[in-house]
Symmetry: C2
Subunit: 231 residues, 2 copies
Amino acid sequence: MIGSPSQGAVDKPHVRRLKRYGPLLDEDVAALEARLGRVETYPAGKNLELTGSPPMFLLSGWACLAHSLRDGRRQILAFLLPGDGIGFDLLTRSQRSVEVLALTPLKVRRAQAGFAAGTERLGRVFAGAAAAQQGRMIDQMVRLGRQTALERMAHLLLELHSRLAEIGEVRGETFHLPLKQEILADALGLSLVHVNRTLQQMKRDKLIDMRGAQVTLLDRSALEAASDQSS
Amino acid sequence: MIGSPSQGAVDKPHVRRLKRYGPLLDEDVAALEARLGRVETYPAGKNLELTGSPPMFLLSGWACLAHSLRDGRRQILAFLLPGDGIGFDLLTRSQRSVEVLALTPLKVRRAQAGFAAGTERLGRVFAGAAAAQQGRMIDQMVRLGRQTALERMAHLLLELHSRLAEIGEVRGETFHLPLKQEILADALGLSLVHVNRTLQQMKRDKLIDMRGAQVTLLDRSALEAASDQSS
DNA sequence: CGCATGGTTGAGAGGTCTCAAGAAAGGTGG
DNA sequence: CCACCTTTCTTGAGACCTCTCAACCATGCG
């Protein structure tokens, strides 16, 4: 439908995502592509190495950043979706013991060692992407610190829907959520059991529908009211 | 004692803090100073404007970044201590409704409009400071999502002691904590009442001592064991 | 002295957790 | 195509951590 002669019918997910944060000309896209290596794949459950390795773009699949405590408790800090950069900003390459975990099979493209943005427009767009990532971390802190289980879940589902919509991975209010309840629990600071009960309740209350990994937001206004956040 | 001929006996707090993240020559310090305006002061409780205004250094006093929900719940995202930059990184100037709140009377120095790091060494040091800030945000997420009240408090007190030690504001294990329990509550995702009880218990257990706003870490190894975080 | 602010304490409610057991779903080999 | 095993989800019951409400105490200040 929307003709985009130079890049084929649809941009690749990382390009599509980056364009949310500012205009990119074909030359910018070309400069970026030239700096990226070939596609690598990882299986679900794989722990990606970040320290010392160049940054990369996530082409397909879901990953997360997580920090584990000695006794096994784990906190997921952020979800990484197709199109997201990994290791470009300070967050994802901080020296701390932050793991990058593949939640589904992944396709990534590593950048060259010594990667730099290249063009000025690319730099601005990268900064925008990093700022967006930071904003999501703020949302996460508010969820964890000041919201109830139902509010946290509602807010996270809305965030994921919105991010997936940016890369064309929603159908209306429906999207694929490839996360075990254990993962949701570690992201939301809840127990697995309580995540389950919270989802049950949201289904009973007709806020959402879940068939397998397909989630549908049935009552967006109620979800938004629940998730508050005033942002 | 330690002679530092070019800058007087002791560096200003922001210089001292920045030097934690890499070497700075006198010319770097001079370049930085040249870009900073004169000292401004704000009273405790004042809500500082960030949007659209240039970044600044906090010379003295404590501030915090916070996000409020519509119903009045508030989450404090980070504490800002003397020597910290405000608005240099993406975090502190994100477009979101993040407030900067003076917790004590403040002295700050604004940077010029269009501020840039200036020298390469300064740029590296600024990046290091931003990374440190991000690391603290990760700690905060882990606290909020996966730690108990006592663990959160222990971890925060250790963080504050360590940061204050960097700028010479500790005497051994003792430091000045100018925070109301209400503020601690909003930082730790707890109720004011529970913060009080948690502090009482830590005093009973001889983990800490508090006389007024003076806090002493009595049992560092127990505090570290409690705060876990394995980082 | 009286008020305002911040800290302390008690009691009961409620949200979330842990433990435990089953049910459902998905993959694999025969 | 089925039996079986593993993984994931679901549900119940009781414990526990933290919350809310409410009162009271301590301190500082005009």
